[in-house]
Assembly symmetry: C2
Homo-oligomer: 310 residues x 2
């Protein structure tokens, strides 16, 4: 189609190898993780969060992240992201060669203290130190910060919009490259997503790049649509809707990559994703993690007759 | 709250007793149907499609619809709807005392012929005859027509927008009270919902009242949000996401009433629904239809801490 190139591009960052696997009962061997990451990249995902540099005692599923990063770096054209919870993790991500380090901090002070035993302000200081450290290195590394519990908290409940804006502004002031808003516990609703994106963008402009949404209440794709309407062009998601938050009781999985990709493609956004290949990448996951329940509609229903035909 | 009355009202029409039960393997006894309908009304649903007047040989689950309508009429404040597939069904709905008769016709001529052995034009003639017949009776009865396969067809595939507009205009010209657009097979996507609602409203104005959406591809609530944004203030849905279409292979259930009600309420729309009571009404369904799989997120996750607190 002649006008295909004119459609806006949307980046889906697959976080399954990190947010999905950290919650899984079984620990995937490094080679299986890399085989899965290669399948995801083959299906057209250009940005994958491959693991996290956190305490292997707390999250043994992520103990091999350095090896996974190194393996993923061999995949041509792939932007390799790794999560880090503190400066030590950021250093480890840089040493492993990650293109992007993602640092989550919590907008809810209570959630932050429960999660990492530090308040939000101390975590913003940590981000500032991390940015300063990274900028002093010879090899550049993109720094994404996720403002967790930006749409509500399982402990504090309602998180005031002004608080979200203030934390986002503080994070932007650290010099981090990009700020994401994360619905860590899945409390967001579309009107709130719109209002929050608008207010945060008013405060920090294009530094706000991404939404990280969960499907706890079934509103994940409606919330993604609301973000899309407000100009958000990047989303985190997990193949098969894996994932959750060990510190947010009751929270279910991330939005489903293949359903999100289907929605975006059917609306005319370019994602670069081959949907049948993406759906096929569920097979390895289903075989390797038999105790995890894969979610998602597209994989069950199959692509509709109208897909790609309009 | 002082300004609560200022929020827009949205009508949820529960179609579970019709669209849900017609697909169920087990046949619910009349008394169980009525007990369930009473629970739904008690939870605040003000409009319920309680059954259909169709051939009991084809759809034995609906053989007791006249008795169900009569029982539902005893529930104070409830608008009792019944589906009818032809003039004979419309007469039966009127005789039983239904407040509303819902007549589905298919925008896709192929789907229409496969479904009822008549093309779309013949079905529009049938609607016209039904309207004329109802208007000649002493007791008024609201006539809702649903334009099925308005967003795609499992047989024809893409259904052109102009075709949807033309059929909607023909239906409005019959004098029917209200036209709904139905995503019978679940192929709709949000941009299409917006464009279709706009085009059909341009053609028939406020006569377009409602969307009937399925969750086949996981986009049900995103599509509802798109309709809501375009001013749609009425939606069909099924408790537990029951339902489907016997003539649309692969189509999964309707959008989930409790998840839709949660989205609307959390966005500030008035629905009149008590969510915990609505969720509790799943129990009778689960006990009475053990072979049906109930879907939905809110019922599993529970209401978030922020609900009703903002």
């Amino acid at each position: 189609m002649a006008n295909e190139a004119a459609l806006p591009a949307v980046t889906i960052c697959e976080v399954g190898p990190r947010d999905g696997l950290q919650m899984a009962r079984d620990i995937l061997p490094t080679e299986i993780k890399l085989r899965w990451i290669r399948q995801l990249a083959q299906a057209g995902l250009r940005e994958i969060e491959v693991g996290s540099f956190v305490s292997p005692k707390l999250v043994p599923q992520m103990a091999d992240t350095a090896a996974v990063v190194r393996g993923a770096l061999e995949i041509e054209g792939l932007t390799v992201c790794a999560l880090a919870g503190n400066l030590r993790g950021v250093v480890a991500a840089h040493e492993a060669g990650a293109h992007v380090v993602a640092i989550p901090i919590s907008v809810s002070d209570t959630h932050s203290r429960a999660n990492v035993n530090k308040g939000t302000d101390a975590q913003i200081d940590m981000v500032r130190a991390a940015v300063d450290w990274v900028r002093a290195q010879a090899r550049p590394m993109r720094i994404d910060v996720a403002a967790a519990t930006a749409f509500g908290c399982s402990m504090e409940g309602h998180v005031p919009l002004q608080r979200v804006v203030d934390v986002a502004a503080d994070l932007a002031a650290t010099g981090a490259d990009a700020i994401a808003l994360a619905d860590t516990v899945g409390y967001a609703q579309p009107a709130q997503v719109r209002a929050t994106v608008r207010a945060v963008r008013d405060a920090i402009g294009a530094r706000l790049t991404k939404l990280h949404l969960h499907d706890t209440m079934g509103l994940g794709l409606a919330n993604a649509l609301a973000g899309l309407d407000e100009g958000i062009r990047a989303f985190d998601s997990c193949l098969g809707g894996l994932g959750g938050c060990p510190f947010a009781p009751g929270a279910s999985g991330n939005i489903v990559t293949e359903d999100l990709a289907f929605m975006l493609a059917s609306m005319g956004y370019r994602t670069g994703i081959d949907l049948p290949q993406l759906v096929a990448a569920r097979r390895l996951l289903a075989e390797s993690l038999p105790s995890e329940k894969l979610r998602g509609a597209v994989a069950v229903a199959g692509l509709p007759k109208t897909f790609g035909a309009a």
